[in-house]
C-alpha cells in the first residue's frame, strides 16, 4: 500500500511542472495568506515576547488590591517596609531583603518621526539592580541615588528623540540629564529609569506604585502571598511577575492578535477556494493518467492520497515562502505601538503556526478533489480525449 502511495505520488509530482502556473495558484495563495498573517501577528507576538522576557518567574510584584496596571496601584510609605520584611523574599549580600519600591509614571516624549507620545518612567530604589540583575549599562553610567539623573533604554534611544547620554529630559522641577543607556532584553528597553525617592519628591507624589521582590525560591510565592494577604495592615495583591506580565500582554495584544487572525482566516478561506479550484482541474487533467494507474491495478486510496499530498506540498511551500518574506521583512525589527517599544517577531513558533494553517487548508481543499480522483470512472476516463 505504502509502495503504491509512493509510486502514484512520485508520478504525480513529476507531472507538476506541466501544471506549473496552475499549481502556483495554491503556492501564491498560501504565500499571501501566511505572509500577511505572520506580518500582522509579528506586532502582537513581538509585544508578547517583550512582556514575557520582562516577567521573571523568580520575582513577584506586590500591588494594591484590584489594580490591573502599575499606574492604578498605590503602595504607601507605611506599607512598603511591612512588605519588605515578609517571609519568602530573597536576601541580598548585605542581608537586606531584595525588595524594590518602584514607581511607574508616564512621561511625554517625542517619537523619532516627530509625533508626540508617552513612555514609562520607572523608579528604582537601592535594591532595583539586585531585583533586576538583567539590567546592564551599555553606555555612560548608572544614575546615582539621590541625584536628579536618569538612564534610558537602548530602544528608547532609537525610537525617541533626545535620548542620548548628555541629553536632558524635562521633569516638573527642571531638566534631568541622561547619564547612561541600559539594556534588559525586554520591554523596559523602551523606558526611562531614575531613583524612586528623588522622583517621588519631584513629581509631588507620596505613594509608590508597586514593590517588586526576588523570591527566595520559585515556590516561596505561596508563603509570601499568605503573609501579605493575611496582614490586616495591608490591602494588596501578590502576583508572580511572569503571570503579571502575561496578563498585561493579553490585555495589550488581544485586539491586535484578533485582527491578525481575522485577516488570516478570511484570506485562508479565499486560498482554500483557490486550492479546490486548482486540484479539481488537476484531477481532470490527470484523468487519463489516474485511469491508467487504476487499470493497472493501483487502488483508489493511493490515488486519493496523492492528490492530498500534492495539496500539502504546494500549500506548505507557499506558507514557507510567505513566512520567509514576513521573517525577512520584519523579524527583529525595532518598532513602536502606542507607548510600547518592542522587536517585531516572526519566531519559529509563528512559522509553525503558518505551516499548520497551510496543512489545514490543504486537507480541506484536497479532500473533495481526492474523492473525485478516487471515484473517477476508469473506462470513461480512458476513453476521453
Amino acid at each position: 500500500m505504502l509502495r503504491q502511495i509512493w509510486i502514484v505520488s512520485a508520478l504525480n509530482f513529476k507531472s507538476l511542472p506541466g501544471r506549473f502556473w496552475q499549481s502556483m495558484v495554491i503556492v501564491v495563495g498560501l504565500a499571501a495568506t501566511i505572509g500577511v498573517m505572520l506580518s500582522m501577528l509579528s506586532v502582537s507576538a513581538g509585544m508578547r515576547e517583550g512582556y514575557a522576557k520582562a516577567g521573571d518567574p523568580g520575582r513577584a510584584i506586590v500591588i494594591s488590591k484590584g489594580a490591573e496596571q502599575e499606574g492604578q496601584s498605590a503602595i504607601t510609605r507605611a506599607m512598603a517596609p511591612l512588605i519588605a520584611v515578609a517571609p519568602g523574599i530573597a536576601k541580598d549580600t548585605d542581608g537586606k531583603p531584595l525588595a524594590d519600591r518602584t514607581l511607574n509614571v508616564g512621561v511625554p516624549v517625542l517619537r523619532a518621526d516627530g509625533s508626540k507620545g508617552f513612555t514609562s518612567m520607572r523608579g528604582f530604589s537601592d535594591k532595583g539592580p539586585g531585583v533586576r540583575p538583567e539590567l546592564k549599562i551599555v553606555a555612560g553610567r548608572m544614575f546615582q541615588p539621590g541625584k536628579r539623573e536618569i538612564i534610558a533604554g537602548v530602544g528608547a534611544r532609537i525610537m525617541f528623540r533626545h535620548m542620548q547620554v548628555g541629553d536632558k529630559v524635562i521633569l516638573p522641577d527642571g531638566q534631568w540629564p541622561i547619564v547612561g543607556i541600559f539594556s534588559t532584553g525586554d520591554q523596559l528597553e523602551g523606558q526611562l529609569i531614575g531613583d524612586t525617592e528623588t522622583l517621588l519628591t519631584t513629581l509631588h507624589k507620596t505613594n509608590y506604585n508597586s514593590v517588586l521582590v526576588r523570591l527566595s525560591s520559585l515556590d516561596s510565592l505561596t508563603t509570601l502571598k499568605r503573609a501579605l494577604t493575611t496582614n490586616p495592615a495591608l490591602s494588596v495583591d501578590v502576583m508572580r511577575h511572569s503571570d503579571w506580565y502575561a496578563r498585561l500582554a493579553d490585555q495589550q495584544t488581544f485586539a491586535l492578535a484578533l485582527l491578525g487572525y481575522i485577516v488570516g482566516t478570511v484570506m485562508a478561506i479565499g486560498a482554500l477556494f483557490g486550492c479546490l479550484n486548482t486540484l479539481y482541474s488537476a484531477v481532470s487533467t490527470r484523468g487519463r493518467e489516474i485511469a491508467t494507474l487504476r487499470a493497472l491495478g493501483y487502488g483508489a486510496f493511493p490515488v486519493a492520497v496523492s492528490v492530498i499530498l500534492e495539496a500539502i506540498l504546494l500549500s506548505v511551500a507557499g506558507a514557507l515562502i510567505g513566512a520567509g518574506i514576513a521573517w525577512a521583512l520584519y523579524d527583529g525589527k525595532l518598532d513602536l505601538f502606542g507607548n510600547t517599544i518592542f522587536h517585531l517577531s516572526v519566531s519559529p513558533k509563528q512559522i509553525e503556526l503558518g505551516v499548520i494553517w497551510a496543512i489545514a487548508v490543504a486537507l480541506l481543499g484536497g479532500l473533495l478533489p481526492s474523492i473525485r480522483a478516487a471515484r473517477l470512472p476508469v473506462v470513461d476516463a480512458l476513453r476521453a480525449t
Binding site: M267, I269, A271, T278
Partner: protein, 384 residues
C-alpha cells in the same frame, strides 16, 4: 447585451470552477472591504475631529485640580473649558469591562455635536446617579431607562471604602463613530463627591475650546508653558492629533490595511488570471470558430473581457456585502472594552472595490486576449 448568453454559457461550462473562482474573489473583496472600510473609519475620525478643541491632562500621570479650569478659561483665546473623568471598571464579572465618562455641565457646550438633547443632559444633572447609555452599550448589558446597576471599579478610590458605583439609566442615546463600541456618560459631580478626600476636586482631563481654530496649536503651547513649573504640569493634545490613529499609535495602520488589501488582490489576480487562461485554452477551437463565422478580433476579445469581468465584479459586490454584514455584527462579538474601530462602508470603499475589480478583470483577460488575437485560425480549428 445580446452576447450575454454566450458569456454566460462560457462561464457555466465548468460550474464548479466558476463558483470556486467567484467565492475566492468574494473573500478577497471581503478582506478589501474590511481593511479599506477600517481606513475609512480612521479618516472619518480625523475628519470629524474639530480643530478648535484640545484635551489637557497631567503631564506626569494622575489627576488635575479642577481649580485650574478657571485659570485656563481666563487665558486669551480660550472660549470654554469643560472637565471629564473616567471610571473604569466592570459589571458583575471582571470580564465585563466598561468605562464611564463622568461629564461636568459644560461638556454639552464644548461638545455640541454629541447626539444628546438638552433634556437628556438635564436628566443626569437632576439625578446625580443618572447615566446616558448609548444604544450599543444598552444592548450589550441589557439596560433600559429606569434600570439601576452597579459598576465595580478597583481603580477609583471611594470615600466609603467600597468600590461600587451605582448608576441609574436615564436615557438610551444614539451611538457615535468615535466610540466604536458605544459609550456611557455620567455626572462628574457624583464621582467627585464620592471619592476619597485627597482625590476630590480633581479631574482626569479638561476639554478646552478655543475661539479661533487657527490658534489652537499656539494656545496649546501657551497652556503647557504656563503650567510647566506649577505643582501640576500639564500636557495638551489637540483633538486632531488625538483622533489621528497614526499619531496615536505611532504606526501607520492605514498603510498596513492597504498592504493587506493589496495582498488579497494579488492572490485573487493570480487565481482569476489562471482560471481564465485555462478556460480560454480549453476553448481555443471555439474561439477560432467564432472568428470563422465572422466575429472580429475585437468582438472575441470583448467576450474574454466580459468572461473575466463577471466573476470579478460579482465577487467584488458580494465580498463588500459580506464585509458590511461582518462589520455590523463584529461589535456584538468583541469582548467589551477593547475599543476596536469598526469598518465603515462608505461610498469610496465601493468605488475603490469596483475599480480594483475592473483592474483585476482587465489584467486577467489581457494575456488570453493577446493570444486569441495572434492565433492562427486554421491551426486552432484543427485542434493542434
Amino acid at each position: 447585451m445580446k452576447y450575454f448568453p454566450l458569456v454566460w454559457a462560457a462561464i457555466m461550462r465548468k460550474p464548479t470552477r466558476a463558483v470556486l473562482t467567484l467565492l475566492s474573489v468574494m473573500l478577497a473583496f471581503t478582506l478589501f472591504g474590511l481593511t479599506i472600510g477600517m481606513n475609512a473609519t480612521f479618516a472619518k475620525f480625523k475628519e470629524d475631529a474639530r480643530d478648535d478643541r484640545m484635551f489637557v491632562f497631567a503631564r506626569f500621570s494622575g489627576l488635575v485640580p479642577v481649580a485650574l479650569e478657571r485659570q485656563i478659561e481666563s487665558m486669551p483665546g480660550v472660549e470654554m473649558v469643560a472637565s471629564s473623568s473616567g471610571i473604569g471598571g466592570y459589571i458583575k464579572d471582571p470580564k465585563n469591562r466598561v468605562f464611564v465618562q463622568m461629564m461636568d455641565d459644560k461638556v454639552a457646550k464644548v461638545n455640541p455635536e454629541y447626539p444628546i438633547t438638552p433634556a437628556q443632559w438635564q436628566m443626569i444633572r437632576d439625578d446625580r446617579m443618572g447615566m446616558l447609555v448609548s444604544k450599543m452599550q444598552a444592548d450589550r448589558w441589557h439596560l433600559k431607562p429606569g434600570d439601576t446597576f452597579v459598576i465595580a471599579s478597583p481603580m477609583v478610590k471611594k470615600l466609603d471604602g467600597t468600590m461600587s458605583w451605582t448608576f441609574k439609566v436615564a436615557a438610551v442615546t444614539p451611538d457615535m463613530n468615535i466610540f466604536g463600541q458605544g459609550y456611557m456618560f455620567g455626572n462628574f459631580d457624583y464621582m467627585d463627591k464620592a471619592r476619597t478626600l485627597s482625590d476630590q476636586s480633581k479631574t482626569g482631563q479638561f476639554r478646552v475650546k478655543v475661539s479661533d481654530p487657527t490658534k489652537t496649536a499656539e494656545i496649546a503651547q501657551q497652556i503647557e508653558d504656563k503650567f510647566a513649573n506649577s505643582a501640576t504640569p500639564l500636557q495638551t493634545l489637540t483633538e486632531k492629533v488625538a483622533f489621528d490613529v497614526t499619531a496615536n499609535t505611532g504606526m501607520d495602520i492605514a498603510a498596513v490595511d492597504r498592504d493587506v488589501a493589496l495582498a488579497g488582490m494579488f492572490m485573487v489576480l493570480f487565481l482569476t488570471a489562471n482560471s481564465l487562461a485555462q478556460a480560454v485554452r480549453e476553448r481555443f477551437a471555439e474561439f477560432a470558430t467564432l472568428k470563422t463565422i465572422g466575429f472580429s478580433d475585437g468582438g472575441v476579445i470583448g467576450l474574454v473581457f466580459a468572461e473575466a469581468a463577471v466573476p470579478c465584479l460579482l465577487g467584488a459586490g458580494l465580498g463588500i456585502g459580506l464585509a458590511t454584514i461582518i462589520s455590523n455584527i463584529i461589535p456584538h462579538f468583541l469582548p467589551p472594552g477593547q475599543g476596536l474601530p469598526i469598518p465603515t462602508m462608505e461610498v469610496m470603499v465601493f468605488v475603490w472595490a469596483f475599480l480594483c475589480a475592473a483592474l483585476v478583470a482587465f489584467i486577467s483577460a489581457a494575456l488570453p486576449a493577446l493570444r486569441l488575437r495572434q492565433m492562427d485560425i486554421a491551426t486552432a480549428l484543427s485542434g493542434r
